[in-house]
Amino acid sequence: MKKIIVLLSLIILTGSYNLAISDEFTKEDLEKWNKEFMAVVKEGDKLFHSALGKNKVSCDMCHPNASNTHPETYPKFQKQIGKVVALRDMINWCIQNPLEGDPLKLDDPKMIALEAYITYERKGKPLAPGKH
């Protein structure tokens, strides 16, 4: 057994075994993945413009085109939460307070979709973690 592991390690280290196959992707792959991504952005757009809480208020009422959400500045210190948080924590804060709703699970597909839409609308802005 030990011999086999040593042999495999040697093969990998010397590069005599081609690992590249798993890293190769085609133009069709890129298109497919982009399509998948844009479908999630579209879902996030829909959620962002609908009542996620209990009072008919929606995210876009304060953040048209997701502006003033500053996804590029997270994680950052958020005064009302009292510590450094991620964008999704702030999304939940908004759902619970102005929208008067229940928070989403942090890995809820809806949460991922909201993040996808918010960051997509801010594309091209350099990362600025911690910035206010």
């Binding site: 413009h49 209990k54 009072n55 008919k56 208020v57 876009d60 009422m61 304060c62 953040h63 048209p64 085109n65 502006s67 003033n68 500053h70 005064k79 009302q80 804060w93 908004c94 307070n97 102005p98 609308e121 801010r122 594309k123 091209g124 802005k125 206010h132």
Partner: protein, 357 residues
């Protein structure tokens, strides 16, 4: 003894009136513009967006904003001559929302002048508003100042007709960042009315125009925009002192185009970002505006408020009453020829939250 109205007297008076009416409008000038206008104070409340949930339930946060503005207006000393409501009393133009708004506004101890907003209009195309609240286009004179109210949130017929139901039309107009939206306009009918209305006003009479949308072009994707603004501006430019007061943008915003000073009013409900913070599309935000302190959503009333307006020598001095931020004062600078913030105008006086990005 009262003079009896004889048939002869009546005919004489009628003939004189007919003679005036037949004069070209431009020759009929009233003398009150010549004397210097009196100083006075009025107040401005705008963009409350009262939102109906169900039954008797409304969004608590937005109710609180309007109620607070009404209460503070009632405490004003000296009393304002009148209060202007700048439009968007309702969120989706519903009868429940407009009636709820009227109920809260009935607590005001001062007379109200109403301006209609798109959220009040696009469900029933202004029917409830015109029947129960106010005309949408009118003018009045007050202490030597000529006030004009226009409905600036009209749009193209084709857009109005494209929706399956009034509710669908309303919700599409209510969404600020709607790619299927349509630009606001005043329209030719009101523009010709305005032309006639202004023809009888002398050029040295201060003119104050009140509209819901800004009567200039800032950012089309969010309808911070009036499509035929230039036509309206052309009618206003010949006057020596013109101020346009508008709502819609939910932020401190001011500009000067020729003789016309523009000032935006705060919302009592929530603040809107400056278009500079949407980086995907270009904007024409006025360079002279010192931005409001950036909203911190921890405070419900942050970056919201109302305004006390002093009419001083025919110019409007705007005291922004900001509930969670330091009050701001905007005053027309006669030397510079545009309005300036009394504290923050010079770049070195600005504070960090005024930088929006």
């Amino acid at each position: 003894m009262k003079k009896k109205v004889t048939r002869r007297r009546f005919i004489k008076a009628g003939a004189a009136a007919a003679a005036v009416a037949s004069l070209p409008l431009g020759l009929v000038e009233f003398s009150w513009g010549k004397s210097s206008p009196k100083n006075f104070t009025f107040a401005y409340i705008s963009d409350s967006h009262l939102t109906h949930i169900k039954g008797k339930e409304f969004v608590r946060n937005f109710d609180k904003g309007l109620k607070r503005a009404v209460m503070e207006c009632n405490f004003m000393s000296p009393r304002p001559d009148f209060v202007v409501y700048g439009g968007d009393l309702a969120q989706l133009g519903k009868r429940e929302e407009l009636e709820h708004g009227l109920e809260i506004m009935s607590g005001l101890r001062h007379p109200v002048k109403w301006v209609i907003g798109e959220h009040d209009y696009y469900l029933d195309l202004g029917k409830f508003w015109e029947n129960k609240i106010s005309k949408t286009t009118y003018s009045f004179d007050h202490k030597g100042v000529h006030f004009v109210v226009v409905n600036s949130i009209l749009t193209y017929d084709a857009w109005i007709k494209r929706w399956k139901s009034p509710e669908e039309r309303m919700s599409n107009m209510a969404r600020l960042d709607n790619p299927n939206g349509s630009p606001f306009m005043v329209g030719d009918e009101q523009i010709s009315w305005l032309k006639k209305d202004l023809a009888r006003v002398s050029k040295d009479t201060p003119v104050v125009v009140m509209s819901h949308s800004p009567l200039y072009k800032i950012f089309k994707p969010w309808n911070f925009w009036t499509d035929d603004a230039e036509k309206v501006q052309a009618l206003l430019q010949p006057f020596e002192k013109v101020t346009v007061l508008h709502g819609h943008v939910h932020q401190i915003l001011y500009n000067q185009i020729g003789n016309i000073t523009f000032q935006a009013m705060m919302s009592t409900a929530w603040p809107w970002p400056y278009p500079v913070s949407y980086i995907q599309k270009p904007n024409q935000i006025p360079k002279i505006t010192v931005f409001m302190n950036r909203a911190d959503p921890f405070h419900e009333r942050d970056a919201t408020g109302w305004s006390i307006l002093d009419l001083e020598n025919g110019r409007v001095t705007n005291h922004y009453k900001l509930w969670e931020n330091k009050d701001r004062v905007l005053r027309y600078d006669e030397k510079l020829g545009y309005p300036v913030d009394s504290e923050y105008q010079s770049p070195e006086k600005r504070i960090p939250p005024q930088k929006h990005y």
